[in-house]
C-alpha cells in the first residue's frame, strides 16, 4: 500500500549539511507491523515524517495507494493526512485547551464533521479512557495522554498508523499496555509503522528495519512475539 523509493533527505547547505536519509527504499504492505530501529540521529523520525507527508523529500518517491504523494502541493497533502494516514507521537501532541474527547474529535472537526461524539466515546472506551473523556491533557498521566492520542489517530479509520516512539516517555509497564493496544489494532487490520529504540518493543513487530546514518542496514521479517494475555483493550 505504501512504497518509499530511493528517498534521500538532506538538511541545510554546504557546511551545515546533514544527510538524514540516504537512498532509502522500503515497502509497506497492508496489515504490516514494521518496527524502525536505529541509533539516535539515524533518520528514523525523518523517515516517518516523509512517509506521512509531514516533511518533503530531497530526492526519491513516496507512493501511497499507487499515487505519488511526495510531489503533492499543500492542499492535496491535507487530504492525505485527513484520510489514510494517522500519527501517534512520542510527546502525545494533544491540544491543551481541549478535553480528551475533544482532542479525539479534532480530526473530524477539520474534515467538517460534527456530531460524532458517540463514535469518539466508543473509541475512548476501546483505549480504556471513557472515564476520562472530560479531562484536559494536563489532568492525565503520560500513558493516558498517549491513549487519547491513539484514539485521535483512530477516529478517521486510517489504513496506516505511524507511531514515533509512542512508549518512549513511559515506564515499562505503561509502555506494555500501550503496545498491546497497537498489537490489537494490527490484528484488526491496521497497518503500523513504529519507530522504537527498544528491542523488546520491536519484538512485537512482524518486520524490523534498522537504520544507521540514514541508510537501511538491515531488514528482517519475524514472527511477532505477543503475550496472549495482554492482547486487546482492557
Amino acid at each position: 500500500m505504501l512504497e518509499v523509493k530511493n528517498v534521500s533527505k538532506v538538511y541545510g547547505q554546504e557546511t551545515t549539511k546533514v544527510v538524514a536519509l540516504d537512498n532509502v527504499s522500503l515497502k509497506v504492505n497492508s496489515g504490516d507491523f514494521i518496527a524502525v530501529m536505529g541509533p539516535s540521529g539515524s533518520g528514523k523520525s525523518t523517515l516517518l515524517n516523509i512517509i506521512g507527508g509531514l516533511d518533503r523529500v530531497s530526492a526519491g518517491e513516496v507512493i501511497l495507494g499507487g499515487k505519488r504523494i511526495d510531489n503533492l502541493d499543500e492542499n492535496a497533502l491535507v487530504e492525505v493526512r485527513r484520510g489514510k494516514i494517522a500519527y501517534v507521537f512520542q510527546q502525545y501532541h494533544l491540544l491543551p485547551s481541549l478535553t480528551a474527547l475533544e482532542n479525539v474529535l479534532l480530526p473530524l472537526t477539520f474534515c467538517g464533521i460534527s456530531n460524532r461524539t458517540e463514535k469518539a466515546m466508543d473509541i475512548l472506551k476501546r483505549v480504556g479512557l471513557d472515564k476520562r473523556a472530560r479531562h484536559k491533557p494536563n489532568q492525565l498521566s503520560g500513558g493516558e495522554q498517549q491513549r487519547v492520542a491513539i484514539a485521535r489517530a483512530l477516529v478517521n479509520d486510517p489504513e496506516l498508523i505511524l507511531a514515533d516512539e509512542p512508549t518512549g516517555n513511559m515506564d515499562r509497564r505503561t509502555g506494555r499496555e500501550i503496545l498491546s493496544l497497537f498489537d490489537h489494532l494490527n490484528e484488526e487490520g491496521h497497518t503500523i509503522v513504529m519507530v522504537t529504540h527498544d528491542p523488546e518493543i520491536a519484538k512485537h513487530a512482524k518486520e524490523i528495519v534498522v537504520l544507521q546514518d540514514g541508510k537501511i542496514i538491515e531488514k528482517a521479517k519475524q514472527e511477532p512475539a505477543r503475550p496472549r494475555q495482554r492482547t486487546g483493550a482492557r
Binding site: 492542499n75 491535507v78 501532541h93 472537526t109 477539520f110
Partner: protein
C-alpha cells in the same frame, strides 16, 4: 465540535493573552466613542440653544441711517423709513413663509404652518418709572417662547390683562391683581408674573397686541415680527431672501445663521478629533498585530498538531480570524463602555456645563470598528501561521 467552538475553548484557556490583544482594540474604540459621545452632546446643546433662541427669523421695519455731510463736516443723521410695519404686510409675510416651508418639506396642507408673532413696543411710565410695554399675540408668543413659565398667576387670556417680567415686577413693585394705567382711561390688570428668563423679557410688560395698539394709538401697526418655522430643514435663508425682495419697507434677518456658524465650528472640531481617533485606531491595530504575531510563535506546536491531524491552510487562517472576531467583540464592548465613561469625565472639562448622555447606537459602531480592526490586524499573523512547517514545529519545543 465545530471549528469556532475549538477557537472559543482555546481563547478561554489563553484568557490573559487574548485580553492583552483586546487592549489595543479597547484603547482605539474608547477614543472613538469618547470623541463621538462628547461631540454628540455638544451638538445637542447647540440645537438646544437654537431652540431657546426662539424665532428663526425676525422681520423689522427697514430703517436706514443716512449721515448728512458737507465736506468733512458732519451735520446730522437722517433716519429714513417707517418705524412700524403695517398689519396688512403680515398676511404677505405669512404667505411667503408658509409657501417656502411647504416647498421645503414637500407638503401641501392648508392652513398656517409657521408661528408668526408680531410685537408692538412702546415706552411708557408705570408708577412713575419708565418701562417698555410690549403688545403680543398671546398664543403665538407662547409658541415662540416655550421656555416661558408663569411664576404667579396666569398667562394672558383676556384683553385687559398684563403679564409682567420678573425684574419689572420687582422694580415696579407689581403683584398679581394690581392695576396698571397705560394711558388715560386704559387700565390693565396684572394677571401673571413670569419666572426669570435671563433675557430682556425680564424687564418688560406684555399685554395683548390689540390692547396696545388701541391704548397707544397705533392701530394696525407692529414694531417687529418674530417668525418660527419649527423644522430643522426649513429653508430659512430662502424665506429671508424672498421677504426682503418682495415686501418693501421691511428687513428680514435669519437668526439661525449665528447658530449655524457654531455648528460648523463644532463639525470642524469633531472632524479633527476623529482624525485623531483614526490615528489611535492604526496604533491599536499594530498593537493587536504585535500580540497576534507573538501568539503565533507561542502556538507553533499547536499549529503543527492541527496541521498534522488534517487542518488546511484555510482552516488555520479561519482559526486566527475567529479569534480576531472574539477579540473585536470583547474590545468593542469594553471600548464602548470605557469611551462612554471617558466622555462623562472629559466632556465637562472641554465644554463647561455640558450634559453628556450615552448613545446606545455607538455600541454598534464600536463593535464594527473593533471587529474590523482586529480582523485586519489578524491577516498577517494568520498568514505567518500557515507558514509553520509541521515537522519543524515539533522540534521547535
Amino acid at each position: 465540535m465545530k471549528l469556532y467552538q475549538m477557537v472559543i475553548k482555546d481563547v478561554l484557556r489563553r484568557k490573559r493573552r487574548v485580553a492583552y490583544a483586546a487592549l489595543g482594540v479597547v484603547v482605539s474604540v474608547m477614543t472613538v466613542v469618547g470623541i463621538l459621545t462628547v461631540a454628540h452632546a455638544a451638538q445637542a446643546r447647540i440645537y438646544n440653544q437654537l431652540e431657546k433662541y426662539g424665532p428663526n427669523l425676525i422681520v423689522m421695519p427697514a430703517i436706514s441711517n443716512l449721515d448728512l455731510r458737507l465736506g468733512d463736516l458732519m451735520l446730522a443723521t437722517l433716519t429714513i423709513g417707517e418705524n412700524y410695519i403695517p398689519v396688512e404686510k403680515l398676511r404677505h409675510i405669512r404667505q411667503i413663509t408658509d409657501d417656502e416651508i411647504r416647498r421645503g418639506l414637500g407638503i401641501n396642507n392648508e392652513g398656517n404652518i409657521a408661528t408668526i408673532a408680531p410685537k408692538l413696543y412702546t415706552n411708557t411710565k408705570v408708577n412713575g418709572m419708565p418701562v417698555m410695554v410690549v403688545g403680543i399675540e398671546p398664543q403665538e408668543e407662547s409658541k415662540i417662547k416655550p421656555w416661558w413659565r408663569v411664576r404667579d398667576g396666569d398667562y394672558l387670556n383676556a384683553p385687559d390683562q398684563a403679564l409682567v417680567g420678573a425684574m419689572a415686577a420687582e422694580l415696579l413693585k407689581l403683584e398679581v391683581g394690581d392695576m396698571i394705567m397705560l394711558t388715560d382711561g386704559n387700565d390693565v390688570a396684572v394677571t401673571g408674573i413670569l419666572e426669570e428668563t435671563g433675557s430682556n423679557d425680564d424687564y418688560l410688560i406684555f399685554i395683548p397686541i390689540q390692547r396696545a395698539q388701541q391704548a397707544f394709538g397705533k392701530q394696525g401697526m407692529v414694531s417687529s415680527v418674530d417668525i418660527r418655522a419649527l423644522c430643522n430643514a426649513c429653508p430659512v435663508e430662502t424665506i429671508t431672501d424672498r421677504i426682503n425682495q418682495n415686501i418693501p419697507g421691511v428687513r428680514a434677518v435669519a437668526v439661525k445663521q449665528v447658530a449655524e456658524g457654531e455648528m460648523g465650528m463644532m463639525e470642524k472640531l469633531s472632524k479633527f478629533m476623529l482624525a485623531l481617533a483614526g490615528i489611535t485606531l492604526v496604533v491599536g491595530l499594530f498593537g493587536v498585530l504585535n500580540t497576534m504575531i507573538s501568539s503565533v510563535h507561542e502556538r507553533v506546536k499547536d499549529i503543527g498538531i492541527m496541521r498534522a491531524v488534517g487542518a488546511s491552510h484555510g482552516q488555520i487562517i479561519k482559526i486566527f480570524i475567529y479569534e480576531a472576531i472574539i477579540i473585536g467583540i470583547l474590545g468593542g464592548i469594553v471600548g464602548y463602555i470605557a469611551g462612554t465613561l471617558l466622555a462623562y469625565i472629559i466632556g465637562p472639562l472641554i465644554f463647561e456645563g455640558i450634559a453628556i448622555a450615552y448613545v446606545p447606537q455607538y455600541l454598534l459602531i464600536s463593535l464594527m470598528v473593533a471587529v474590523l480592526v482586529a480582523v485586519v490586524a489578524a491577516v498577517y499573523p494568520a498568514f505567518r501561521a500557515t507558514q509553520v512547517k509541521v515537522a519543524d514545529s515539533f522540534r521547535a519545543l
